[in-house]
Symmetry: C2
Subunit: 386 residues, 2 copies
Amino acid sequence: MTAATDPDEERLARVFLARVVEPGDEAGGQWVRERGAAEVARRLRDGGEPLPGVTARKWAGLLARAARAEPERDLAVARDAGVRFVCPGDVEWPRPLDDLGDARPLGLWVRGGPSLRMWALRSVAVVGARACTEYGAHMALTLAAGLAERGWVVVSGGAYGVDGAAHRGALGAGGATVAVLACGVDRPYPRGHTELIGRIAAQGLVVGELPPGDHPTPSRFVQRNRVIAALTRGTVVVEAAHRSGSLVTARAALRLGRHTMGVPGPATSALSAGVHELLRQEAVLVTDAAEVIELVGDMGELAPERHGPVLPRDLLHAGARRVLAALPGHRAAAADEIAREAWTTPDDAIARLYELRALGYVERHGDGWKLTRQAMLSVRGGRHPC
Amino acid sequence: MTAATDPDEERLARVFLARVVEPGDEAGGQWVRERGAAEVARRLRDGGEPLPGVTARKWAGLLARAARAEPERDLAVARDAGVRFVCPGDVEWPRPLDDLGDARPLGLWVRGGPSLRMWALRSVAVVGARACTEYGAHMALTLAAGLAERGWVVVSGGAYGVDGAAHRGALGAGGATVAVLACGVDRPYPRGHTELIGRIAAQGLVVGELPPGDHPTPSRFVQRNRVIAALTRGTVVVEAAHRSGSLVTARAALRLGRHTMGVPGPATSALSAGVHELLRQEAVLVTDAAEVIELVGDMGELAPERHGPVLPRDLLHAGARRVLAALPGHRAAAADEIAREAWTTPDDAIARLYELRALGYVERHGDGWKLTRQAMLSVRGGRHPC
């Protein structure tokens, strides 16, 4: 039902809607899917009849928010803070998030150099209790370091306890890490992690659904967890009490068909009780990074050992990463077109393309270039992509 | 192929063979199955042609042992030590051991009052490392106490570490426990557990395949583990390093279709590494007695909550237990016959039978009495009975 729309208008409408609709709101997601973001934004700005599936009271609340929304200003504030807006249709959009259906984020605010889409392909979430034990912090740090050393991206929520230890483990190993926040990415939360989140943005990525300046709420924490689960190939819970928020992430991962793992602890520890509950259901017990990779890296013909590294951040220069990100997902493109998209010269793009071919990322296709079958498969399919 | 044989001769032949053939010897088990114990014993005594599947050297070894065997003396020594010999065909023989096929014990030497067959119906093995940690000892003790308090029989190997803690937990709860030894049951091993094994014999059962006076060997420990696995409804491994003997028990339990469980511990503990390995395969993670019972007690219509307790040792007086043990497994019997088997008067037997009927163990059948369907099922079937 979506009318042909101006991509720039759609994009601006998504920025507008991100200010109006709460993360994970499936009614809003359905409107956007059926009518397009620009049309939904118009309806909210013009204040006409309520859209379907929403109470009069909720509609009034949305209209009040819509009246205050300033998407151009949000984009400008973000730009000044080194933050970009990535939304469905963009080259950098991580396709695994599409598995969330109508709960898919309208877009993500992204702080940091690397391509979120590429990093998501080879990422694992390491999450757990804020008030973790020394043992939990040790395990999170060690696991994350091991994953990072083997070229995997460690995704977590930037919180105290297990999350912080996971980010620090990855950073300490000189590896890749992504913090998914429940607030504006220009507004680090918790405050005590301002320095840590700054380092993550410098060495990796800080992302979130909330527009600049927005603050976290309990429901935003819960909704943030679905993004962590969907973005990654699997979720490891390190420590969690019964009814812990990390179990929300784990259950979301299970629902999405992602690998769901738990680190065991003493049966006498209340902070392992939630993990053990999970392990008695569908999660797989893991005790080190190798066991995690054995599971999430189980890609058959796509195994990185046999086809070259899928996302070896340390092997790809920024220029090559830009060229890789500029390749369209589903068709071949000429080197000229790729060069334009990657903001480089055709000669440079061609040099990078040959480099990427050597690494197994791209192949020649007539006169053009395209992602390899492995990379193609990696951005399609029900289960989490490659 | 078994010729009609004198039960007493068969029984004495099994005592003889238990002195000659090593535990778990499948060639020996096959001979007995195909020819009967008496015939195999004759062949070994007379020293004729080797039986099939055995080297000349092994045959010579068996003949040498046979020449020294004195089964009547073994029975007399056992009797003086309060030890009885229970073998297939006996009322007290635990049918689950038949699942071992040709590796089935020739018989078991049993020390202690209760019926081994009845106790096995509602038993769980709790096993683990000899050199366990404080944590492992704590978990074994707590689990065993919880199982015993809920009317379950705790089976273990009488060793230092986890085994000892499991026996002590059951004894401390005033519950039922069985030690399965890898040596003669009149010869406690390890020596440091002489007092403990004495208490087990007084309050529960001490059993083993080896004839009086025999000593343990490494292979006898391994073979002992198959008896623990087969006898019980499930095996819980509390702590075990990689390549630990308790993993042998757990794998035997898996092969036999028994429930196999593991208690998690810190991922950093070498003494939990073997358990975690098991939990990554087919074993179920358990953290307390309730979780163990949830698994092994999953009997559908046979659930003790709905049909009366299956083996509430504390509810059955010794007299009732003897009457219960005297009922034949597959047919009805008259009260007179049962009284004779139970060494009591017909009047007393009838009183006990009504008591057992109230508890759901037995039912009237014409003029006779028989085990209830639940109890009948309990001594048949591929998976562990009851």
